[in-house]
Amino acid sequence: MSGLSESDLRLFVDSVTRYFAVTSRTPPLISAAYLGTDPVPRHEFNGIVSFSGRFSGQVIVSLPAMAVRELLLIQHETDLSESNLLDAVGEIANTVAGNARQTLGSGLEISVPVTSRGCKGRQPPVRRHPYVISFRWNTHAGLVCVDLDRVA
């Protein structure tokens, strides 16, 4: 197993930037990228996609409730129930991970997203120090945790 290269990580930065830019016309501001320690910080709503094949692990998109609500309102969605907020953050994770395949290769298998609120169902990280990309979108904080290793 080996870590990701800088260009692999750039891919996730670009992917999350593109998601918010296209969906809301407001790209996020990337505030930091660092190696996290367990437990990696999380916001309230989490979308998790697992990877297998050439890479192993998971990618987590984590947002506070207010950010997900605002994103739904921008899309003229009126159902702001918990289940729809979870659905929305799962779809963001699915999009960010799916877009990554364009560069990481189609030999990469990605799961359907699973979602969680708070710390429920938290899995131990694959990497001792997962990559964490934190950003601000409008006034909200968010993060993408890239807990992936390249399979030799």
Binding site: E77, G98, I110
Partner: protein, 124 residues
């Protein structure tokens, strides 16, 4: 136009329905909403769609498995794949299976309307 929307995300299904109903596509009737391939086949049997928007990554039967089965029961359905799997080989696979168009996620309202208009112009 009779439209069947297939996506495992409720947010995406609702959004597609809202965009097509307020756009330049003329009258649109949503004949079904499905969360995976099996539900899509059942919906297409009950109410034949002219156009299907088809996600690929879904639990149960995924989009690539669904496309040929759906075309077997509704050969004239125009399928627009809308997916986050934007690698070229996935798009080619979907088109070879019989999809008529491919729209990458994320998408904005204009991109969806344009993709559907192009699909409808090219239909037999």
């Amino acid at each position: 136009m009779k439209l069947l929307v297939v996506d495992d995300s409720n947010v995406v299904r609702s959004r597609i329905a809202r965009i097509v109903q307020r756009g330049a596509l003329g009258p649109v009737t949503i004949v079904g909403m499905a969360r995976n391939g099996q539900e899509a086949l059942r919906a297409a049997m009950q109410a034949p769609p002219d156009v299907v928007t088809m996600d690929l990554t879904m639990p149960g039967m995924d989009g690539l498995a669904c496309i040929p089965e759906l075309l077997a029961i509704r050969p004239h359905a125009n399928i627009l794949v809308i997916s986050a799997l934007t690698d070229k080989s996935t798009a080619i696979k979907a088109l070879r299976l019989g999809a008529r168009g491919f729209l990458p996620k994320p998408f904005d309202d204009d991109a969806l309307q344009l993709a559907l208009l192009s699909l409808l112009k090219g239909r037999p």
